[in-house]
């Protein structure tokens, strides 16, 4: 089934932090340098416990339906991963699997059992196979070099130290106010904790650097142009939306630094002329994940991102009606917002303001606030006109396609054009398959719009649609 034709959404995953962080060792490849610590890695009971937990977590991702089921995208990601692995046998207790996760967060992660997940948010951001290979190469290094196990061991030790410092801080309370011993204990307790936490993040950053280094080597040996890695970091710096989870990359070295470092490494390594892949080939394989993600972004109040990704699809296949509908939907949901952030929004202060508004205001309240600004109504009008234009283009491309009529219905109802909205909803219902999930919703709207309908049957004005 075409992934674009049905709305779908990711479930925001809160992954145990330990799975996202990883540590340094070396691969066992004949052509790639190896980390001495990973070569001599021995499983302990702590590692086996972690592995059991990870295996269960891995199964749950599938059971919860969070793994993208599109066979083309899945086979493609798996094939790129296997190409990077070459003939190298997997390490003990590792079975490599490469999958796309239904999650619009721009991220990828590796579980120590060999399951590597690239979020649909990241898949949609990338432009070619080599960029995907740079992500997978990085994650493979985490697995082969046993980073998760080593990091987990390190954190466990450091947590005990934090406990000791906490106890020291608490013990300061037993001393009389103003006593030197009490003050020393309080300060050392506090500083000690800060220092240990700093070493944890510092250690994690070292592991990320190592994964970049060996990931880049792995790309080169698999026949990919390693210059794709710094380009990927450049893409990661995209700031269409603010970062809802503050410090998502806190454990990672700064993107700018990673970009520069990997650029230097790529220059030294060479490899210009090796495989990069075209955007067209990439989208040919991965478009289902991109479509899924556009829908997810629209649901998650990231209309700017949705618009950027849907434009990628319409530029690739300008006559594909489902892509045109996605672009139209993006403009419609954008409402009074601009397609790109203003220079003020890109400033640190602007980002903070944006974050504050996101947590404080509902989507509808945010739109109302934007409309109250002098440029708001004009912006809304422009976006809705574009949405209407793309819906009509989609109908022109495929007049039997129901979805653009649904979108037009939403748009006209929002503009108060009841007769037009009624007509479009009726057209949608006549064209949509009998088992369309949206049927009931549209029928209810239709009923509510009919003359003499009871007020408040549905609340389209409040609905983000």
């Amino acid at each position: 089934m075409n992934e674009c034709l049905k709305p779908r959404l990711r479930s925001l995953l809160v992954l145990p932090a330990v799975f996202l962080f990883v540590t340094p060792c070396f691969a066992q490849s004949t052509s790639i340098d190896q980390s001495p610590s990973s070569a001599s890695f021995q499983f302990t009971q702590v590692d086996l416990n972690l592995l059991a937990e990870v295996n269960e977590f891995d199964k749950q991702l599938s059971r919860k339906g969070l793994v993208l089921k599109d066979p083309i995208a899945t086979a493609y990601v798996q094939s790129v991963g296997e190409k990077l692995l070459g003939n190298q046998p997997p390490p003990e207790r590792v079975e490599f699997k490469f999958r796309v996760l239904r999650d619009p967060t721009i991220n990828a992660f590796a579980l120590p059992n060999g399951s590597i997940y690239v979020n649909s948010g990241l898949v949609a951001l990338l432009n070619n196979e080599a960029e995907l290979a740079s992500v997978l190469g990085h994650e493979i290094t985490h697995v082969i070099n046993r980073h998760t196990y080593i990091y987990n061991r390190s954190v466990r030790k450091k947590m005990v130290m934090i406990d000791i410092f906490q106890a020291a801080g608490a013990a300061s309370g037993f001393f009389p106010s103003g006593s030197v011993t009490g003050a020393v204990l309080a300060i050392s307790g506090m500083l000690g904790q800060v220092m240990v936490v700093t070493t944890i993040f510092g250690y994690s950053r070292d592991l990320e650097r190592e994964a970049d280094r060996y990931g880049l080597d792995r790309m080169y040996h698999a026949g990919y142009d390693p210059h794709a890695m710094p380009r990927t970091f450049e893409l990661l710096d995209e700031r269409l939306e603010f970062e809802p989870v503050e410090g998502l990359y806190r454990d990672h070295p700064k993107l700018k630094e990673r970009q520069e470092t990997t650029q230097e490494m790529a220059e030294k390594r060479g490899g210009r002329g090796l495989l990069v892949g075209t955007e067209s080939d990439y989208l040919d394989n991965i478009s289902a994940a991109v479509c899924y993600n556009v829908r997810a972004d629209l649901e998650g109040r990231r209309a700017r991102t949705a618009l950027a990704r849907s434009r990628k699809l319409t530029q690739w296949q300008p006559q594909e009606s489902s892509y045109l509908v996605l672009e139209a939907d993006s403009f419609r949901v954008l409402g009074a917002k601009t397609a790109l952030p203003s220079p003020e929004e890109l400033q640190k202060h602007g980002q903070a303001e944006h974050r504050k508004r996101y947590f404080k205001l509902t989507e509808e309240e945010e739109q109302r606030e934007l409309l109250a600004k002098p440029t708001g109504p004009e912006q809304l009008q422009a976006n809705l006109e574009k949405a209407e234009k793309y819906y009509h283009s989609a109908i022109q491309a495929n007049e039997r396609f129901a979805d653009p009529h649904r979108g037009l219905g939403f748009l006209y109802q929002r503009q108060g054009k009841t007769a037009d909205a009624l007509r479009e909803y009726q057209l949608y219902l006549s064209l949509a398959p009998p088992d369309a999930f949206d049927r009931l919703r549209i029928e209810r709207r239709l009923t509510a719009l009919q003359p003499g309908a009871a007020p408040n049957t549905v609340t389209p004005a409040k609905a983000p649609e």
Binding site: M1, K6, P7, R8, L9, R10, S11, L12, V14, P16, V18, N49, E53, E56, F57, Q60, R63, K64, G65, K69, R102, V155, R156, K157, M159, V160, D163, Q166, A167, G169, A170, G173, R295, A296, E299, G300, R301, Y358, F359, K360, L361, T362, E363, F437, D438, L440, R441, R444, R445, N456, T457, V458, T459, P460, K462, A463, P464, E465
Partner: protein
């Protein structure tokens, strides 16, 4: 010195025992005036798959409890369903179990979409839950994407979050005055199955053995709170 040490340890042990014995469930709820005035009612509920997560907190940090979380999720759902049925509410989520969703990817997508929308709204709702009384929060008529919404007057979202402390961590918490008991939070949100408006939001916090026996931990309080909110059929109320 020995006397002080012995006294201190005795106090610590007694406190731990008392702490466990005094496990309580606190609750708080917010109701949309549409529900409290009887304009709408919650009598046929479609339960969305529960989302619950347990973490084990020990001296060496936090560990996941994936398997236990899954079991706990199912238990929480069972507790909520039991209490709703006791209030005369019909459960209409037939065909919406995890195994049903597993075999129907389209339905799974619709469910993920609604859950995503719920999370987006919950961001503000949890921050200012009292605004439910002002009818401020809605998921929109998108809730009709779930087939069960045709046959229900509301949808229920059940979420759980628990921090299970090890014995060592509890004792350490008592010593230094930090976190010294496990805590499990249960959240239930009722949403109008047509308009998507949030009708009620109830929050339960337990510091006992919530992970082993959710029925004892939440059941009684849950029943009382749901009744207070106005869940279930109410004859004679204005429709």
């Amino acid at each position: 010195m020995n006397f002080f040490r012995r006294t201190f340890l005795a106090v610590l042990l007694v406190s731990l025992d008392v702490g466990t014995a005094l496990a309580v469930t606190a609750s708080k709820s917010y109701t949309n005036p549409k529900l409290s005035s009887g304009q709408t009612s919650v009598t046929r509920v479609c339960m969305t798959p529960p989302e619950a997560q347990l973490d084990k907190v020990g001296m060496k940090g936090v560990e996941g409890m994936s398997k236990e979380s899954e079991i706990w999720s199912a238990q929480l759902q069972a507790v909520v369903e039991t209490e709703l049925k006791d209030l005369g509410v019909a459960i209409t989520s037939t065909g919406m179990s995890n195994s049903d969703l597993e075999s129907n990817d389209d339905l799974r997508q619709a469910m993920l979409q609604i859950q995503e929308k719920y999370k987006s709204v919950a961001t503000q709702m949890e921050r200012k839950a009292k605004d439910i009384k002002k009818s401020r929060y809605t998921l929109g008529d998108e809730v009709a994407l779930l087939p069960c919404s045709a046959d229900s007057d509301s949808l229920a979202f059940v979420e759980g979050e628990g921090r299970v402390l090890t014995g060592g961590k509890k004792a350490f918490g008592m010593l230094i005055g930090g976190e010294s008991s496990s805590r499990g939070t249960l959240r239930i949100t009722f949403v109008d199955a047509k308009s998507g408006d949030v009708l009620a939001y109830a929050l339960f916090l337990n510091n006992g053995k919530f992970e082993d026996d959710p029925q004892s931990a939440y059941g009684k309080k849950l029943g009382k709170e749901l009744k207070k909110i106005g869940i279930g059929p109410h004859e004679g109320k204005k429709k």
